[in-house]
Symmetry: C2
Subunit: 691 residues, 2 copies
């Protein structure tokens, strides 16, 4: 019946179509690529949420609409009432949640609080926690919970390992990537309320009118998610962009230029957050170019932002190629300026005195500036921790700094309390994290790097959360609540930062990274004629007697920048914590450690332990295969292989190199090196992600 | 006093000169490079030996002179008498040694026996054994103890990993390298009495008159050391070199050409040993090119050599790209020819039926040719065992074949006994080893590869020596008799071949090497359109059901080439030795092994065990540092690093590849792979030593 062919075909095609629909309904998840693009926002079953009549709220507001939409799409429990309540203003972005079997009531002083509350109950639902007997009050630890993007206008990301920048400057303001809103939603879900869009090594062009119009589009998109936009600014902008004779902060023309620019910005973006400034650091221009101080520079900008409610985050990351120990320089520079900053200036201080090393003591500036608002800057992107290849959960690193007791205002004045306003009456409280986000489908270059974005957000919201709590939440949200996965993966995550320290630079070693890219080991690094303070040998000072940087009174005396009793604790080799020993002391190779081993043996065992742990992570992860989708399973498996090889690379490079000084055998119960030192010295990485 | 300067300078230079002489006398060893060039011939203290009046001998003969010179230079014990005794002719190259505190008496039927006896007592002295109460009778296991050099006339060495050829054909006959005699001495010291100078893939030019004149020089140099020269010949020589119409062995002109050539050879070298022939194999010409048999070809050559006492070693290594299992082809080809070979022909049979794999069952031809002399061919050079990079002591491999019971003439008719004349009345007895020698200072590309040259020589002399005895001798001679080194190094050597099998191809797997260079793993190897029998997939036949080559009756039936009871033992999966399981059977992945593990698990554990053992060898060797000179210590250390990395490479490649069929997890208590299968597939080695 050839004449019927056409009809038959249509009928059959229609049947197939139905079959597809049925399959789609049965296995909805199998149709999405498990590429990590959903982050931790993997609400159960992707079924619809509750019906509109079960969402009770008054008024109309874009933020409220988002909160309601999230409930309508994902909330599967009882009715939810969203209440704005002026009496709760004191909670700032915070909220209360009370619930019964019949209803959840979320109350907040403003709509952003309600949205955060909604994400709170969705998180409880997703982690299979009880949602029927809630009585919660949440108030964020910091007012400004801010991501610093080191994204350049050309689309590259400095120290970014997740592809190009998320911001498509060439397409803006006309074409809008759907990822902008996804990004805002992800931030809102963990409490991040501020973002600096561009690199601290800032292009003056960022302030060009055409770019500001692009920024406005992003600000408009982010606003309903409670997120304010900030910009990094180049101190030379008046000269470079405005054509002025200089950028001297005491020059009236310069001041007027900034004033006009601020007006322009706020006309476009009325809730613009403010400026982030890297000045007179690593070649960036700054007030010192004109004989002015950091305070002069910061205040000039603060004055123009003040009328609009904007703030200046002024980075304390300054050092120059002087004879002075690099670790001391920021403190020496800023201490004399204490009390000279406007009240809308906050000094942004890297967690440690050098530069985001696997382990540093806290920066002695914390607490030392008694009349100045201080904020900590963490690096979420893993510049010094294996890029997006190594699994290193950073909550323990962040917490280590936050919980460090500065003793500035007596015992208990931790970095957290110095910066969150609880021991001092800070004008501004803030916590910054250098973002690890790029255009990769999985956002951060690896699945486990997402946990660091998550952890930063959660800690900026509540620095009292434990690393274990954060890991627990993230694992359950990202993978499953099956304890067969949760427990081993949590164990792996919680030990992972110490493991990385062990195979990279244990016992206080620091900055022995390969020049420039900071990925692999290069303890031998010493470019003739190069800046000494950019050379690994400057930092480890290994010789036949021992290894480590003497920062005691007999050395650079960096210990004296710490308050009592830390100055003496750190300064005495017997009381200095062993995990910072080589940071503060030049220690003989045969120095007896607390466990009875010599320093050399201890060093060997630490490196070896790092390698062993990564191998253990491989085992742990491989046993997770039944509980994870194939795509993400293989992705992580593959990254761990790289980390495992890299750990051996680190171990061999450092032990073989330091052995040329210690002249002692690597203890014979340790797995032997498989590399030749000379071969390792020849490795030149050509990393795509290095920019 | 400037006028005195010149004199002062001279005086001072002279003083220095004296100081140098004194230092030289005090530390004589420290002035020699410990580059391994001395092999195992490191006689103690390099002092002078006994005085001439303590060496008693009659007659004058170049071999005797060498024996006396060795004593005068190195023997530090009592007087030594060297006696030729016609009644000892039955010992062939053998000898007797009797000693008291006053005198050692070495007696032999011929001078070569006396030289071997001298090396015997020097070995005893060097290994610190008793030399005062000796009563020894030695008779070699094989008459012809022969090295096969696969050296080409262009100076390259096929499957050689110790640099270029030792033979400088371009310099000969006029320039004579001192290494020719050192080479002869080394061979004599371990009983090797024959060498084939050139590659079995022979150039016809080898028989050119100018080349024969070069060969004559070497033969003259080797003769005093008891060594006869042989040549590999190209079957097409009459046509290619002589310009004849063909090389048909039944062609009178061809026969005459060979007759004339033999006369020419023997005129130059009266004790010339004979020809080694690779015919109709891997593209080499042979009698089958003219419709003749291997016997026709071998006999034609045997007839021309017979008048001069020469022999033909005819290789049984033949196979063609047919549908027949490659492992069966030599047997099928040669069995019908049994009884048809002249009595001065010996069939040279590779130890296994494929090609020098890490482990093969013995070649079923052994014992099967009942009326033909048979000899075994081992490979000393490590074509399939990690080149000169991997530490693999081959005595256990050699012994495994030699001690294999063929059951050809009833129980106990081992390969050793079939070939040494003890169960059959062989016309010729011989053992061949493909040399691992090149122009590298250390001769064999690595120190431990020297042990394989040593082991081959010692086993050809006495196949009843245990691997342990040989290793013990070699270690003491090469390094030290300090038990702190001897015992651990021996342990390492004795297990090293099994370790290599484990990390390369355990359980009977074979020939899954990378195409052509045979160094790394390539189990996926399958070049479209290539010869199937050169492809790894041909040999392992992995599929979803299992892995292994079914050579039972239901498969290729290679098992039937073995005598009873081996045909049934090998043919039955339950009785087949597990270390040959996949050689003879296609085994399901979940087959239960004797230890209760599945085949897949067992395979994983074997690979892992190989890796672990190499790491253990690294530890063992590193602890030897106090007992070995730095140069050789570092050399071996460096090789072991390569082996350690290679073992992981092998393990990962094979497990990840086979896992694509087994679809089972690698047991979780095993160290995880650190490579991606796809990356491993891309590795293309460009090995300098591959030629």
């Amino acid at each position: 019946m050839p004449n019927n062919n056409s009809t038959n075909f249509k009928y059959s095609a229609m049947q197939n179509y139905r079959v597809y629909i049925i399959i789609f309904l049965l296995f909805p998840l199998s149709f999405f690529a498990e590429d990590g693009s959903q982050l931790w926002l993997r609400f159960p079953n992707v079924k619809n949420g509750i019906s509109a009549d079960k969402i009770i709220s008054k008024g109309k507001n874009p933020t409220l609409e988002i909160a309601k939409k999230e409930l309508a799409t994902y909330w599967q429990g009882q009715a939810v009432e969203l209440r704005t309540d002026k009496s709760l203003k004191y909670l700032k972005d915070g909220y209360t949640i009370k619930s019964s079997l019949e209803k959840v009531i979320i109350s907040a002083g403003k709509e952003s609080g309600l949205l955060y509350g909604v994400y709170h109950i969705l998180r409880l639902q997703q982690t299979k926690s009880d949602v029927n007997h809630l009585n919660i009050t949440e108030k964020p630890s910091y007012d400004v919970r801010i991501l610093n993007h080191w994204d350049n206008l050309d689309g590259s990301v400095e120290r970014g390992y997740a592809g190009k920048s998320l911001w498509k400057w060439e397409d803006l303001p006309n074409t809008i990537s759907p990822r902008y809103e996804e990004y805002a939603r992800a931030n809102a879900s963990i409490g991040i309320n501020s973002v600096v869009l561009n690199n601290v090594n800032a292009s003056p062009n960022m302030l060009r009118t055409d770019y500001l119009q692009k920024v406005k589009v992003l600000a408009d998109l982010f606003r309903p998610y409670g997120i304010k936009v900030y910009l990094s600014v180049n101190f030379s902008s008046p000269k470079v962009l405005g054509g002025l004779e200089n950028s001297d902060p005491l020059n009236k023309n310069v001041q007027n230029w900034w004033k006009d620019k601020a007006s322009e910005v706020y006309k476009l973006i009325p809730d613009f957050g403010g400026f982030l400034v890297k000045a007179n650091s690593e070649g960036q221009p700054g007030p010192q170019d004109y004989g002015r101080t950091h305070a002069d520079g910061a205040n000039m900008m603060a004055d123009v932002l003040k009328p609009f409610g904007g703030i200046v985050m002024w980075r304390a990351f300054v050092y120059s190629p002087s004879k002075e120990d690099r670790a001391k320089q920021a403190y020496l520079e800023f201490l004399p300026l204490d009390g000279k900053f406007r009240d809308n200036v906050i000094v942004q201080i890297k967690n440690g005195p050098i530069d985001f090393q696997p382990r540093e003591p806290f920066n002695p500036l914390f607490g030392a500036l008694k009349k100045t608002s201080e904020m900590a800057e963490f690096q979420i992107t893993q510049e010094y921790l294996g890029f997006s290849n190594h699994l290193v959960f950073l909550a323990p690193l962040f917490k280590e700094t936050l919980e460090s007791d500065t003793y500035a205002d007596g015992k208990g004045s931790t970095v957290a309390k110095i910066t969150d306003g609880s021991v001092r009456n800070n004008n501004i409280t803030a916590l910054a994290g250098v973002a690890n986000i790029g255009e990769d489908a999985n956002w951060t270059g690896s699945i486990f790097a997402q946990a660091n974005w998550y952890a930063f957000g959660r800690l900026a919201w509540n620095h009292e959360l434990s690393s274990e709590q954060i890991a627990d939440e993230w694992i359950k949200m990202t993978f499953t609540d099956n304890q067969k996965l949760v427990n081993p993966v949590k164990e792996m995550m919680l030990s992972s930062r110490e493991t990385a320290v062990d195979y990279m630079m244990p016992l206080g070693l620091h900055h022995i990274f390969a020049f420039d890219h900071h990925y692999g080991p290069e303890p031998w690094g010493n470019i003739p004629g190069g800046r000494p303070d950019w050379m690994p040998v400057y930092y480890h000072k290994a010789d036949e007697n021992g290894v480590g940087f003497d920062r005691t009174k007999s050395g650079s005396d960096a210990v004296s920048q710490y308050f009592h009793p830390l100055n003496t604790t750190f300064g005495n080799i017997e009381t200095c914590p062993e995990n910072l020993l080589l940071w503060f002391h030049h220690v003989p190779w045969n120095y007896k450690m607390k466990d009875g081993k010599t320093l050399w043996e201890e060093l060997c065992f630490k490196y070896d332990s790092g390698v062993k742990n990564v191998r253990e992570y491989q085992k742990i992860w491989d046993t997770m295969e039944p509980y994870v989708d194939t795509e993400r399973f293989k992705h992580v498996q593959s990254k761990l292989k790289i980390q495992s090889k890299d750990a051996v690379w680190w171990k061999d490079a450092c032990l073989l190199y330091f052995q040329t000084f210690s002249k002692m055998p690597i203890p014979y119960d340790i797995e032997r090196p498989v590399h030749e030192l000379d071969d390792l010295k020849k490795i030149k990485l050509d990393l795509k992600h290095h920019n």
